[in-house]
Structure formats: C-alpha cells, structure tokens
Amino acid sequence: MAHPTTGGIRFDHVTVAYDGNVVLDALDLTVAPGEVMALLGPSGSGKTTALRAVAGFVRPASGRVFLGDRDVTGLPPHRRGIGMVVQQYALFPHMRVEENVAFGLRARRVPRAEVRTRVAEALEMTGMGAYARRHPRELSGGQQQRVAIARALAIRPGVLLLDEPLSALDARLRSGMLAELARLHRELPDVTILYVTHDQVEALTLADRIAVMDKARLRACGTPRELYRAPANAFTASFVGNANLLPVTVGRDGALLGETELKVDTGSAVPGASATLCVRPHLVGLGDGPNRLTGTLAELQWRGATHRLYVDVAGHRVMADVRELKAPPGHGEPVSLHFAPGDAVLLPAEVSADDR
C-alpha cells in the first residue's frame, strides 16, 4: 500500500475555498523531482494551504494535485506516501523516540528486523541515535524537530513536505538546523522537498526555486538569484530581500523621479507610463556618483558592520546600507546618494506599490 512517489509535485489549477472564502486561487506550479521548492509568503498567503493540499488534509474545490504522474486529488492522506514535518513537531507524546520513528513503518507492516535497521538509520542521519529510548518531553525543541524529520524520512518518502519547520526554534538553533537540512538534502538528492516558510533567509539559503505567494495567489516563481536580481513585481522585490520601491515616470532612456532624471534600463516600458523603480539598499552608495539623489537624513541605524541610512528624497524615503561610517552625518543634514544604472530594475506600477 505504500506507493513510492518519485517524480515531483504538480499543482494543476488548484483552488481551495473555505465557506466561499478563496484561500488558494488557481495555483499552477510544478516542482521537479529532487528539487527543493520554497513557498514563500506572509501569513494568509495560501502557502500552507497549498502544502496541505499535497498532504491531503484539504480538498481542492477545483483543480488536480499530482505526485509524479499519479493524480492524488481524491486520495486520503495515508495513501499518498509523503513525509511531512510541521512547525509544532507533533511527536506522539506517549511513545519513545524510536517508537515515533518506527510508527510509519509499523503502520505499513514492514518486517520487524527491517524496522529496526531503518529506525537506526533515520536516527543516525539526524544525529539523534543516542536519544532513541527517550520520550519527546525529555528533548529540547531542536531535538524534537530532528526526531520529527527522522520520523518522516524513515518511510523513505519521494516527497517531503516541511511546514515552517524552523519557526518554533530560536535564531541560533535555526541557522544550525538550516545547514542540517541542506546537508540532508545533499544526502538524499532524490527527495522532492516542498518547504513552506515566511522567512526569506530560509528560502534563499535552501531552495532551488522559490514560489512567492500573496493573497491566495502565486506572484512569482524562479531561482533565488532571478527573484533577487530581477523581481517580476514590487511585492516580490520587497518580500525577497529588502528593496527601495520608488514611483517613477518612464522617460526615453531612463526614468523621472519627480524632477530628477535617472539613467536606468527601460526595457520594453513605454515612455510616459508610470512605473516602480526597485533598487536594493546595499547597492545604494553614499556621496556623488551616477544617478545622484539628494535629500536629508531622516534616520540612521548602526548595525555593527553597516550603517543603514533613511534619506528623504523629494518626499520619498530611500534606504541605503553602507559600510560602517567613521563620521556619520547627523539628522537633518543634506545627504547625496547614488546607484549604478545596472543595479536598478524597472517594475510595472502597482496599485499598492508599498505593501509588503
């Protein structure tokens, strides 16, 4: 009854609605076999719903879900053969660590001797071999999450679903577990991973591709580099990394921010149209240079290695991350900023360009 699922995940126009409230709107997305796909978005964006549609805990109002070439839309969760790890671990409190890990194998009636070796293997892989006889309550949060991952991996799933697996951990543990997950994926290159998170660092670090979601919709999908260097829209720009989003008017070979003329690649934009200019804060320099912006310093934050400047330029606030300044300017002082024409991207204007 355990179907080995290989061949990735495919959402074919999947719509999910609760009481007429659409929480996932016609999602089309394909995750290639062995790929790590991050579903990145704020809460309520529909990313967890998409994951739960793959697991079988929500039934789509329309559309199909495929695991490999198998249509699993109507299949109950226990017939899907997927591994799942959730934010709250959900380890069975009445079972020891080894019984938790063995659970999926016993449910599939795997012979006892094989259960033992596969449990040992899964615990070894997650570094929890020494804790086999403990109960979940005797473990720390990070250890519990490792056991949850071991439990999901013991059934050797073709698809692994991770629902905010690191959100319940503190920051230091989180970066450790992130490296751990990356290592696990290198050891298990055939496992397709769908990783739901609201943390862009997790998505950028771990994912082969990122699907950015907002308000029940897929907003962009691409490699971390694509989304960071050339975001398709303002929402993606602001959610994947930080971004200055400035309303501009497209000119013949540049853009107009108020009275200031800026040299940027206009691409296919029509002169005279309004657009949003996206510049990453760390690509904005202090002082004179190409594409000079002048304004007054509104706020200054010292972040150890860098200073972040908030500068009011013609009514717009521009962020700049620069190397730590020996003599930072004072509040209200005039400041010049600049950025290279190649570092800016012109995006189509959106109704609410500054929502994030």
Binding site: M1, A2, A55, G56, F57, P76, P77, H78, R79, R80, G81, I82, G83, M84, V86, Q88, A90, L91, F92, P93, H94, F103, G104, A107, R108, H135, R137, R151, A152, I155, L161
Partner: protein, 254 residues
C-alpha cells in the same frame, strides 16, 4: 482563604461523613457523642446479605461504567466528525438523562423493557441498563471535551506517515485520550455505586445493590447497621477510585 475553606468544608462535607462513621461503631447515640463501641455492625455488614449486595453493586457499577464508556466514547468520536449543528444536537441528546430526574429514567426503563421482545424486567440486566443510561452522559461529556482539546496535528502526522484511520484511532488517539477515559470511568463507577432512585423501581429480589440495602436498613430503624453498610460502600468506592487514579497517573504523559 484556608479559614473560609475549613468553615465550609467541615460542616458541609466532613461532619456528615464523620457522623456516619461514628454511628457505624455505636450501639446507641442519645448524648452528644455515640456510646457503646462495637464492631458487630461491621460483622453483619461484611457477610451474608450485605456481602452479596456489595458484589451486586460492584458488578453493576463495573458493567455499567464499561458499557457507558464504550458507548460514550464511540458517540463522542462519531460526533467529532459531524458538522457543528448536528454535533450540538447529539450532545443535547446525551445530556438528556441528566436533565430528566433519575426516577423518571427508572420508570422509563421499566416501561420500555417490560414487553417482549425486550423483556428484561425481573433480571439483573434491567438495573445495569438503567445505570448505563444514567452514567453514559458523563462518559460522553468528558470524552468529547477531551477530544476538542486533542491537537488534530497528532492524527494528521500519523495519517501522513501512512496510518489508516483505524490504526490512528487505536495507536494514537485512544492512547492520548486514556487519561480522560480513566477519569470518566471513575466518575461513572462512583455514580453507579451510589445510585438509588432509579434502582429502587427496577431491582429484582436476587439483585439488590448496596444503596438499596442501606435504605432498607434505615427505613426499618436499624440506623447503626445502615451506617456500617454505608461505610463499607464508601470504602469500596474509594478503593476502586484510588486504583483507577493510579492507572491515570501512569498514563499521563506530560
């Protein structure tokens, strides 16, 4: 705080029990305190008719609790799958035996089971059925309360690991509900041990539970013998509850 507690607790709960305890050892009680200490009442209360009644009560209570627990748990599990409105209706139905006076439940059971093909009148089964009806409400309520508190994440994690719904119920949900199940069992048992009003209308001559015996003893004026039997009833109930609570502490995981 403690003074207030003692002020309420002593006269309301402790004193009546102490009086019964005192009376059970007395031959007469005409002054402030009972006099003429004796254990003769206990000799009577632990053999013959009284011993028979104790066994009857224990068997009835155990059978009724187990039946009620099974029915109540089953109904609570089924109700959890229903929509909100139908679940409310089912809950109301199960609370009905609590809302209706137990004399009425006794009478209803008597009328319902006095006709073939369900002729239980005159057998021990009619007492067990009536007790089951009376205590199922408690079993159902405490199990459905525990079910709403149970994190659905456990069952979902189990299902994602490939466990069928039956396997999930048996290996995950019921074990996690065990503390509530034993608590409900204890409550049902205690209620059944003390049930008098419905039993009075139903019990056949060869199936006399202990509370009926106590009532009969006091009714004919044998207050001290009645007290001794009451203490036996109390002790037996407490011992069983203590045993049940031992299971409960061993089964609680957090």
């Amino acid at each position: 705080m403690w003074a207030l507690f003692l002020l309420l607790f002593l006269p309301l709960f402790a004193l009546p029990l102490l009086v019964v305890l005192g009376a059970s050892f007395a031959t007469n009680w005409s002054g402030v305190l009972p006099s003429g200490p004796t254990t003769a009442h206990y000799a009577a209360a632990t053999r013959g008719e009284a011993l028979q009644a104790l066994t009857t009560s224990l068997v009835t209570a155990v059978a009724a609790s187990l039946l009620a627990l099974t029915a109540g748990t089953w109904a609570a599990l089924a109700a959890a799958e229903l929509g909100k409105r139908r679940r409310k209706a089912l809950d109301a139905l199960f609370v009905l035996p609590l809302a209706v006076p137990s004399v009425v439940v006794g009478l209803a059971t008597l009328v319902a089971f006095s006709q073939p093909p369900m002729l239980l009148n005159g057998t021990r089964w009619i007492v067990i059925v009536a007790h089951t009806v009376l205590v199922t409400a408690f079993a159902h309520q405490s199990v459905s309360a525990a079910l709403t508190r149970l994190d659905p994440g456990y069952a979902q994690a189990a299902a994602s690991l490939g466990a069928s719904p039956a396997y999930v119920l048996w290996r995950v949900r019921l074990p996690l509900l065990l503390p509530s199940l034993t608590a409900a069992a204890g409550l049902c048992f205690a209620l059944s041990m003390g049930e008098l009003s419905a039993t009075m209308m139903l019990y056949p001559p060869d199936w006399t539970p202990l509370p009926v015996l106590i009532y009969a003893a006091t009714d004919r004026g044998a207050l001290f013998t009645g007290s001794a039997v009451a203490v036996v009833l109390m002790t037996a109930t407490l011992l069983v509850l203590l045993a049940v609570s031992r299971i409960r502490t061993r089964a609680s995981y957090r």
